[in-house]
Amino acid sequence: MAQESTFVVEEVSNIIKESVEGVIGGGSYQPNKVAQWTSNIVEQCLNQLTALKKPFKYIVNCIIMQKTGAGLHTASSCFWDNTTDGSCTVRWENKTMYCIVSVFGLSM
C-alpha cells in the first residue's frame, strides 16, 4: 500500500494543538504539575503520530515556561533529506505560561 511518505506539516500541527489543549487547555501555571504536563504532551503527540502509521522516526520537544517577561529563543539546524523530512513548531500561550512544541519527522 503506497503511503504518502512526506512530512505533512498541517496534519502534525493539528495533532500538536489537540495534545496541548487537551493537557493544559484551561489551566494556569503550577510548578508541581509542569513536569507531568510536559510528559503528557509529548506522550500524546507521539502516540498520535505513531497512529498515522507513516514510515517516520519522530522527535517531539516541549517547552513550558512561566510568563514573567523573560525572553527565550529556540533554534534548530537539521541535516536531512529536504524532500521527505520536515519539522513543525507550534507556539501556544495562555495568561500564565507559554508552551512551545516542536516535532521533527525523519523518514526511514
Binding site: 505513531t50 522516526k57 517577561g69 541535516f79 536531512w80 521533527f104
Partner: protein, 182 residues
C-alpha cells in the same frame, strides 16, 4: 525609460525582463513560460513540453544519479553520543561565556550555534546518519521552565546528546539527535 530588448510580438510578450537572466544564456523554454502567466490576450502558451526539464547552458539534460542498493541494514559504526556531547560543550563554553541576554543578539547566537554544531557533527563523518540540532537560549529572570523531549526511534542505532549551560544572565540547552537512515 527602460526598453524591452525584444519588440512585442504576436505571442503577447507584454512585459518582459529588460535583460537576460543573470545565469547567462537564456534557456529556450523559460521566457515562454513566464509570458504565459502574464499575457492577457487569451493566448494560452503551453507550459508543458519543451519548457520543462533542467537544461543547462550547454543543453545537456542533467541526469539524476541513481545509486545501487548497498543492502546494508546497519551502520558501520554506531554514532557516539559522547563525541556530540563534547562538541556542544566546547562550543557553548567558548561562545556563551560571559554573554548577557540581548533579544536580537541571542536570536542570532542561537541560530549560528545550531548551524555550527551541525557542521561539526557532520565532520564526524558518520555514514547514513541524519542529525537534528536544537539550541534553546533563555534569560534568567526568576521564571521556571521545563523542557521535555521524547523520540520514536530505533534504540539500537539512534541516539542523542544533551548539554546544559548557565551563567549569571542566561541559560542554554543544546540537544543533538542522530538517527540512522534506514
Amino acid at each position: 525609460m527602460a526598453e524591452p530588448l525584444k519588440p512585442e510580438g504576436p505571442e503577447g510578450e507584454g512585459r518582459r525582463r529588460s535583460g537576460p537572466p543573470p545565469g547567462g544564456l537564456t534557456v529556450p523554454g523559460e521566457g515562454r513560460r513566464r509570458q504565459s502567466k502574464q499575457s492577457h490576450s487569451g493566448h494560452r502558451m503551453s507550459t508543458g513540453g519543451g519548457a520543462r526539464g533542467a537544461t543547462t547552458n550547454t543543453g545537456i539534460r542533467r541526469a539524476r544519479i541513481q545509486y545501487e542498493n548497498t543492502y546494508r541494514t546497519e551502520p558501520m559504526a554506531k554514532f557516539r553520543s559522547d563525541l556530540a556531547y563534547g562538541i556542544i560543550e566546547e562550543l557553548f563554553e567558548r561562545k556563551l561565556k560571559g554573554v548577557k541576554y540581548d533579544p536580537k543578539q541571542c536570536q542570532d547566537t542561537a541560530k549560528t550555534l545550531a548551524a555550527e554544531i551541525r557542521t561539526k557533527v557532520k565532520e564526524l563523518k558518520y555514514d547514513r546518519y541524519k542529525c537534528v540540532v536544537v539550541v534553546t537560549i533563555g534569560q534568567r529572570q526568576d521564571s521556571e521552565l521545563v523542557l521535555a523531549s521524547r523520540c520514536l526511534l530505533d534504540t539500537k542505532w539512534d541516539t542523542f546528546a544533551t548539554y546544559n549551560f548557565e551563567n549569571y544572565d542566561i541559560f542554554a540547552t543544546g540537544i543533538v539527535y542522530a538517527f540512522f537512515f534506514e
